[in-house]
């Protein structure tokens, strides 16, 4: 009887001990999962979500629209179920471009009535006009490009036909010692005009590309009318502002879509996150900037938000040479400064030989100066960010 009781008691103890061991193993396991595995899985999901945000922002630049998922789902069965994120706007982030001695092409119309010699570019129209046709006219109109010349020599003489007095104009088109003669007859006192770019003279493309025009006429009633592009040198300033910023509660890495490209932000520091939109391509500084405007406040929470870029006004475009150019990057906080310096270093390492680059910096600004003859290809897109 005694031995039976002892056996039951030992059996009971072993069951209790076994259950305790299994419970201890389960508690240890749950502690280890909570302490090590879940945070790591959570971190990995948050990082992958940050890479999705980066891709979405890249689409915003390339396609003009994107869907940003504000939150990422957490690890199933473990809190927090999902994170929260927010998309906002910082109007203080910007860049000012000051370019000196840029050349601007302006279409001008010039009317000449005596002797003149001047430079032209991309001539689009060339007319000879004579009011009150008369005799003894002598006109020389010469278009030149490098050593080549095309000369229009116009003379006139009176012709008597029955009782009518006519004026015969003779046009001689001379090119490389070859010439063609064209005759035109009008009534005396009538107006007479010639389109010098008429394809029958076979010099249309030469006139278009000519760099110099010489004109001399012995009559104040005759004119040469030209339409061409004139080069104007001036200093110009462009200012571009605004950045779209994504932040999340679950991960320290956030992203800013700045006017000149994507920037990553983390713990008061920053870094370029993709190829910048200011680059040297051979000898040309190629600048494709976005002037972002935003009227929506901050959008936060879970779920997704669809952003769309609306072009608000005509974009600015400039192709020109320059003698000096300053890029002045500014923001309210100093956290973006590192990304400005990274961009400055990229521009410094890829600059053409004849351009000198220097970098100046303050607490929250960096100015990159280019000194020397360079080319600028600038496009500024003025866009308003709206919900898609």
């Amino acid at each position: 009887m005694k031995s039976t009781l002892l056996a039951v008691s030992v059996k009971g103890v072993s069951t209790v001990v076994a259950i305790s061991i299994i419970l201890a193993a389960i508690v240890t396991a749950s502690f280890a999962i909570q302490a090590f595995i879940v945070p790591e899985l959570e971190r990995e999901r948050a990082y992958l979500h940050s890479q999705d945000i980066l891709r979405s922002f890249e689409e915003l630049y390339s396609k003009g629209r994107c869907v940003i998922s504000l939150s990422h789902s957490g690890v199933p069965f473990f809190p927090p179920i999902s994170s929260t994120g927010q998309v906002g706007y910082d109007p203080q982030i910007g860049v000012t471009i000051s370019a000196f001695n840029v050349t601007e092409l302006k279409e001008v119309e010039k009317q000449l009535d005596s002797q003149d010699e001047f430079e032209v570019r991309s001539t689009s129209e060339a007319y000879f006009l004579c009011q009150n046709a008369s005799d003894s006219l002598k006109v020389n109109c010469t278009f030149s490009k490098d050593a080549e010349k095309v000369t229009f020599l116009i003379t006139s003489e009176l012709l008597k036909h029955d009782n009518t007095t006519l004026v015969r104009f003779q046009l001689r088109v001379i090119r490389n010692s070859n010439f063609n003669v064209y005759n035109y007859t009008v009534f005396q006192g009538d107006s007479f005009s010639l389109n010098l770019m008429n394809p029958i003279y076979n010099v249309t493309s030469f006139i278009k590309e000519a760099s110099k025009v010489y004109y001399k006429a012995n009559s104040p009633n005759c004119f040469l009318i030209l339409k061409y592009l004139e080069t104007e040198h001036k200093n110009t300033i462009f200012s571009v502002r605004g950045a779209i910023i994504y932040e999340t509660s679950g991960f320290p890495l956030s992203y800013a879509a700045t006017p000149w490209g994507l920037t990553a932000l983390e713990a008061g520091n920053s870094s370029l996150a993709a190829f910048p939109k200011i680059l040297w391509v051979n000898n040309t500084l190629t600048v494709n900037l976005y002037n972002f405007t935003w009227n929506m406040g901050t959008i936060g929470g879970t779920g997704a938000v669809s952003l769309h870029l609306l072009t608000t006004s005509s974009f600015v475009s400039l192709k020109s040479s320059f003698s000096r150019l300053y890029l002045n990057f500014t923001s309210a906080s100093p956290s973006l400064k590192n990304s400005y310096l990274q961009l400055a270093n990229i521009l410094k390492s890829s600059k053409p030989e004849n351009v000198k680059v220097s970098v100046q910096q303050g607490d929250s600004w960096v100015m990159v100066s280019f000194e020397g003859k360079g080319n600028l290809d600038l496009v500024i897109s003025n866009v308003k960010v709206v919900l898609g």
Partner: protein
Amino acid sequence: MLSIAIILATAFVVSLNANVSYYIKRKELSSIFIFTVNKDSWINFTSIHSGGDAVDIFGEVNLIFKNGTSKPLNALLVRGENEYYIHGRFQLNSFKFGETFKVCVNSTKLSDCEIHLLLSCHSHILAEVSEKL
């Protein structure tokens, strides 16, 4: 019962230990992008840490020929103020967010081939880029 419990618990703890140690080792979650400048017979690969953990980088810079063979290249590695000459492989410890380093290759005597730069960490490839010559 007791012995079954001990066996089960031991198996459980061993399996858990293996998994936990894998996660404690964890993946290095870092983004790195490479900006290439080919100028004046120098090819500069500027690598920028653009987010995530500080990471130990293992780099390889090789010349790949048209027939698929490759050989390690001599290059100059510039990290901040420090410059090192490398031959094919290099290692950079604790490369942090916002930092940059440059791998510069002189391409004067190179033609009809490709320069390949591969950056990896302990667990995976971080970035790679090729420049045709």
